[in-house]
Amino acid sequence: MSHSTEPILQIQNLQVEFHTDSGVVRAVNGVSFDLYPGETLGIVGESGSGKSVTNLSLMGLIPQPPGKIAGGKVLYNGQNLLELNQRQWQQVRGKKIAMIFQDPMTALNPFLTVEEQLIEVTMLHMQLNRAQATEHAIEILRKVGIPGAEKRIRDYPHQFSGGMRQRVMIAMAISCQPDILIADEPTTALDVTIQAQILELMKSMQEEFGTAIIFITHDLGVVASICDRVMVMYAGRKVEQSTTREIFRQPRHPYTVGLLNSAPRWDQGEDDLQAIDGQPPDLLNLPLGCSFNPRCQFVQDSCLQDTPPLVALEGETPHQHACLQDITQTEEDHSS
């Protein structure tokens, strides 16, 4: 896919650290990527790979201390968001960039009705009065498919089912028509049939408003069905990025290959699952060289010394990967 437009968000060499009793954890270690209007960018990786911390920094939500933005830029409309003060953040957060969290039960306030929570955003950002804001909120709830919206708006979060609560969260996130929507595992806690409904809803909202979506997930099936491009993270770094199709057809990082091979599929029979050996990395004790080297099946001596740089392959489909070995040759041998 080629982008004729300018990116709406540019992340450059983002570094986020957490200072703990046992040492400094580099949760995000020099991550750069662009987000284009109207696209869905998937971010995948294991727990602790830095995908959630990356996105919390885009919302100015890293608790400091213990967290610290150690470097980098987040450019939105030419403005570096990392330099904003709290007041300025409030002009961006919820209005220009909104977020949907994994667990709508903990992300919604149990003491306030859905109405109170929905009108807060629009009264603040769109200067609506109470009556207008309520009307707007009902309209949005209808849009996200909540039956009987004008009655249900007076309910508390616990009166909704999991799927309906996630719809409320989406309603809250899109109520100011943000340019960017960050969705952090928005369907992980939901059943598959409800997940399908929510993914459908997000797609149609994106088509209507042209929102750019960052979709964080560990589910490769969800990535394949909703994302235009994918970025793979491991131990705080970006290790691979390309279009979704390219990542699934021609992965160039051994970790991506491992992820794809270890995901069971319901539509295919008795292949052995190829697990990735070893344990997820300990961010306090990363190995020398490539962080993935203790678990890598393609490891060579050079991998133990040098941290592989992110290499961009120019071609019809841009493809970035951070691996010293060319694994595509070996992969083809495997499959033949």
Partner: protein
């Protein structure tokens, strides 16, 4: 064919919610409402379904772990009916059927070392081993599940999620059970680690001949590990068949909808995949349905579905749907 290791016959578990105030007593929650299945020795039965379908309650009822509920039906383990047994009489059968839980963070005692955790069931069930033999057995089990026995004196928090789940498996194996019930045993793990644990469970079955009842919401995981799969909806099994059959040729409209909603890690596949859209959500389990409980959401519903309750057919590929019944 020999007698199955586990036979479940028309199992029902109805929970009675407490009465509040002076109003009418609330209706019973029919968590499991007439479930029957067999598990052969050394085989795996998968149970899939969405939250609230009764799969976990079924698991706990199989192990006779449910008190304070109205129960009906029979659970026969290795030739003995165990569903009516009290705690004391149940003890010998506890050693035959063990459980692995979902959350490896909550199911291991944080104050016990890993060695102690694995040793405890051996003592509880009086295997009568000497201290030294127990020690050797712990080492053997740790090696079996792929944890270095050197770590015997470490505490659970020193291990990652996947390693903890291995420890939970070693503990379940400590009394040499014939059956292990795994309730969402790999759901909390990252994909790469999940694959390790699935492979471990399958290896152990090869080596030890243990049978599993494997409960999961993840259709792909169940296809991988189970020989036979039962699909549950509102406390009932709506379809039960060999794993290959069920996924290749799903018959019940709910199974079809469930499969079509599950995304496949393949961008091209997802484009061509036809989605059976299910409107609405699973209804409340406190309603008694005269007909099929799925009728209100079923895309292939017939007029009589609301009135006539379907029965699970008796062929190898069992389905509970009027579309497949002769009138």
């Amino acid at each position: 064919m020999s007698t199955p290791l586990l036979q479940v016959r028309d199992l029902k578990v109805h929970f009675k919610p407490p009465r509040r105030g002076f109003g009418k007593a609330p209706a019973a929650i029919r968590a499991v409402d007439g479930v029957s299945f067999d598990v052969e020795a050394g085989q795996t039965l998968g149970l899939v379904g969405e939250s609230g379908c009764g799969k976990s309650t079924t698991a706990r009822a199989v192990l006779n772990l449910i008190r304070n509920a109205h129960r009906e039906g029979e659970v026969i383990l290795d030739g003995t009916q165990i569903d009516h047994l009290g705690e004391a009489a149940m003890r010998p059968y506890r050693a035959k059927a063990q459980m692995v839980f979902q959350d490896p963070f909550a199911s291991l005692n944080p104050r016990m070392t890993v060695g102690k955790i694995i040793r405890e069931p051996m003592r509880n069930f009086g295997l009568g081993l000497s201290d030294q033999d127990e020690q050797l057995e712990v080492i053997r089990l740790m090696e079996l599940v792929g944890i270095n026995p050197r770590y015997m004196n470490r505490y659970p928090h020193e291990f990652s999620g996947g390693q903890r789940q291995r420890i939970g498996i070693a503990r379940a194996l400590a009394v040499q059970p014939q059956l292990i019930v795994c309730d969402e045993a790999v759901s909390a793990l990252d994909v790469s680690i999940q694959a390790q644990v699935i492979n471990l469970l399958m290896d152990l079955q090869q080596k030890l001949g243990v049978a599993y009842v494997f409960i999961s919401h993840d259709l792909a995981v169940v296809r991988h590990i189970a020989n036979r799969v039962g699909v549950m909806y509102l406390g009932r099994i709506v379809e039960l068949a060999s794993s290959d059959e069920l996924y290749r040729d799903p018959k019940h409209p709910y199974t079809k909808a469930l499969l079509s909603a599950a995304p496949v890690p393949d961008p091209d596949q997802n484009v061509s995949q036809k989605r059976v859209k299910l409107e609405g959500e699973v209804p409340s389990p406190d309603i008694v349905y005269p007909g099929c409980p799925f009728a209100d959401r079923c895309p292939e519903v017939l007029d009589q579905c609301h009135a006539v309750a379907p029965q699970l057919s008796t062929e190898a590929h069992k389905v509970s749907c009027l579309l497949f019944e002769d009138f």
